[in-house]
């Protein structure tokens, strides 16, 4: 007997959402990873700003930053960050065709083309930034 049941009144059962609900399915794990790795993207952006500021303050602070960056632990950390941001970028770009409906001559541009366009833009930006940093 269910002591809470009253005749003619629904006694629903509601499942609680467990904290680790996202571990139950690969797609959810991927989703949560995509969401969390956005923090890494923010971190990289900040790092870039710090880098620019260091250059601005003069050679000493620039060398100090490079020195810190060259420590093995820090390098290892940044390799991990790179992988994380790459994961974020790829999963993020893959979603683009869903949101974008582009029409050329009355026909919907296929998802593949939109995707390729995004990847192309990404590679172009990367080359541009690398060129600016490393110099010609």
């Amino acid at each position: 007997m269910n002591p809470d049941y009253r005749p003619y009144h629904p006694k629903w059962f509601r499942r609680r959402v467990p904290i680790f609900w996202w571990l139950r399915q690969a797609a959810y794990v991927k989703f949560i990873s995509r969401e969390l790795t956005c923090l890494l993207v923010a971190y990289v952006a900040i790092l870039l700003l710090v880098f620019v500021a260091a250059v601005d303050r003069g050679e000493a602070s620039y060398l100090a930053l490079v020195g810190w960056l060259s420590q093995p632990m820090v390098v290892a950390f940044h390799v991990a960050v790179l992988l994380g941001t790459l994961f974020h970028t790829v999963t993020w770009l893959n979603l683009a065709p869903m949101a974008l409906v582009v029409k050329v001559g009355g026909r919907r541009v296929p998802a593949r083309a939109i995707l390729l366009g995004h990847y192309f833009a990404w590679v172009a930006c990367t080359i541009a930034v690398a060129w600016a940093l490393v110099g010609p």
Partner: protein, 580 residues
């Protein structure tokens, strides 16, 4: 007892019910309207209709042509005044539905597109790809959300009509989720509860099509008209009974026997041509096509399978592009349910119970002989379908007669006093009955599923595509025995909450009534006409039977049969000519 009062109550939220609800709300916005449905409205069986809905739009077409196709298709058993009203209002209703958002397929210039259908001289079937019923139902349902006076009772099962002083004034309904029994009172009740294909074992009809409305009207004294006319659709998938729409043939599909031969040419249905010819061959009427199948099968020219003989429906020559554009759902259904691709393979098909031409007798406004009780849709028999319904007339019928019944009920309700209080006592009786006969009963021995499947087998054997005196009597004896056994039915489920076994038992009780009436009506009609083929009386007999079978429940609970005249206005009975 929990009692609610409305002005107009609809039993059923399918195409007919929703159209009627809107009609009530538009006729008199001051009335309170309630739609009671045993499933959420968008689950109603209208959702399954595939091929299309007929209405005259093309310049070369005419109302006379639509009427003539309908009447000859119905083997002259249609009431011609009803057909005239039907074809006259059909187009308006279809345009109205277009204005409500139904995504009809279009011609390149944006006008409505049409396709031919079986038994039609000129093409006039509007379609929304091959999910016409689905789109119509969702457009109607979503449109009702615009009308605040329309209240819904979703998942409420109506168990009986409340009639007092000769006037129908409401219903008793079981709230499935909680098991609460309620009295829903109203000044007018419109039955829109659909057909009852589940009397038979092999049907295109959903599990919910159990003829509840027909049975309840019958129990309340309303006559059931022409119940012996049960339509077999010629092309259902074996095992599942899933319908392969007539549109597959309208677009150019062929029916082939085991030798790859278009056998319909041997049955006075015309001569084969590579492209579809209207009112000919595969585009003949459904009754004739299903009968031709039986003959082929008897002659050993069908293909045997574990689920009975089949013939082949071949659409391969249409090509992938046409199939995907015009009949994508056919491909989807074949891939999902038959594990074959109609682009590359032939589709095995056999006749399957599809539609009930008969139903609660009504006038042109949906009014039944019981005051305050209206009916529209498949549950009703106006009759525009006669002895054989033409494909794509039913969806239009829902709109035309749903709207008519809605308007008439609104007018009727406006002039009635409030429902009488005696009804609440009747409703309380009904609640006690449900408890006594089902939930609270401990001495039963019979199971719902067993009785149901035995009844279905008996009906298929006794009142299938071909019948005779003996087969009908054997089935009648069996059904009477099952009726006795049903008195001892035991439920394994005694819960009040979402008791689907209780619902099935109530449905079975209605199905048994329907089976009895179908058999009694079939026995009384000693001729062959349309979908009613008696091997012992193979000819149509206009002298004796150009008449409607009217079944009323007698004192002893058994059906009494009488005949009513058919209304003939313009088209005297003639020969049905196809392919010539």
């Amino acid at each position: 007892m929990d009692t609610r009062v409305h002005d107009v109550l609809l039993v059923g939220g399918g195409g007919a019910g929703l159209r009627a609800a809107i009609a009530v709300a538009e006729t008199n916005p001051g009335l309170s309207v309630a739609v009671v449905s045993k499933v959420y409205p968008m689950r109603s069986h209208t959702v399954s209709a595939e091929g299309g809905a007929a209405a005259v739009v093309r310049d070369e077409d005419s109302l006379e042509a639509h009427a003539y196709d309908t009447i000859s298709g119905g083997d002259w058993l249609c009431d011609q005044d009803a057909v005239e009203a039907f074809v006259r209002e059909a187009t308006r209703e279809m345009v109205q539905l277009e204005h409500w958002g139904c995504p009809w397929s279009r011609q390149p210039d944006g006008r409505i597109a049409t396709r031919p259908f079986g038994g039609m001289k000129i093409e006039r079937t509007w379609y929304a790809a091959d999910k016409t019923g689905f789109h119509m139902l969702h457009a109607l349902f979503q449109t009702t959300l615009r009308y605040p006076p329309i209240k819904r009772y979703d998942e409420f099962f109506v168990t009986r009509l409340l009639v007092d002083d000769g006037r129908c004034q409401g219903v008793v309904a079981l709230e499935v989720a909680t098991g609460k029994v309620q009295a829903l009172l109203a000044k007018a009740v419109i039955l829109c509860s659909g057909g009852g294909g589940k009397v038979f074992p092999f049907t295109t009809n959903a599990n919910i099509k159990t003829g509840d409305g027909m049975a309840m009207a019958y129990q309340s004294g309303a006559p059931l008209k022409d119940m012996e006319f049960v339509q077999y659709h010629p092309t259902g998938l074996p095992f599942t009974g899933i319908l392969i729409t007539e549109a597959a043939r309208a677009e150019g599909g062929w029916l082939l026997n085991k030798d790859g031969y278009r056998y319909l040419q041997d049955y006075d249905l015309g001569t084969p041509s590579p492209t579809p010819v209207k009112r000919s061959m595969e585009l003949g009427p459904r009754d004739r096509l299903s009968q031709a199948f039986v003959a082929e099968s008897k002659a050993g020219r069908a293909i045997p399978t574990p689920y009975g003989d089949v013939v082949h429906l071949d659409v391969r020559h249409l090509g992938e592009a046409v199939i995907d554009k015009k009949i994508p759902f056919v491909r989807e259904l074949c891939l999902k349910y038959q594990k074959l691709d109609p682009v590359k393979e032939m589709i095995p098909v056999r006749p399957v119970v599809h539609y009930m031409m008969g139903g609660v007798a009504t006038d042109l406004d949906g009014a039944t002989p019981v005051a305050g009780l209206f009916a529209a849709g498949e549950v009703a028999c106006v009759s525009i379908n006669g002895a054989n319904r033409l494909g794509s007339n039913s969806l239009t019928e829902l709109l035309v007669f749903g709207a008519r019944a809605g308007r008439a009920a609104a007018r009727f309700a406006g002039a009635q006093p409030d429902p009488s209080s005696a009804l609440v006592a009747q409703a309380a009786d009904e609640e006690r009955r449900l408890h006594r006969d089902f939930l609270g009963r401990t001495d039963g021995t019979e199971r719902v599923a067993d009785i149901r499947s035995e009844m279905q087998q008996a009906m298929e054997a006794g009142a299938g595509i071909y019948r005779d005196e003996e087969s009908i009597q054997v089935a009648a004896t069996k059904v009477a025995a099952l009726r006795q056994r049903f008195r001892r039915v035991a439920l394994q489920d005694s819960s009040r909450t979402f008791n689907t076994e209780l619902v099935s038992a109530l449905e079975l009780s209605n199905l048994l009534d329907l089976a009895e009436v179908i058999l009694a009506s079939a026995a009384a009609r000693r001729e062959s006409r349309g979908a009613h083929q008696r091997t012992d009386f193979p000819e149509r007999d206009d002298e004796g039977f150009l008449a409607h079978t009217m079944a009323r429940q007698g004192e002893d609970g058994r059906p009494r049969i009488e005949f009513d005249p058919v209304t003939i206005t313009t088209w005297p009975p003639g020969e049905r000519v196809y392919g010539r």
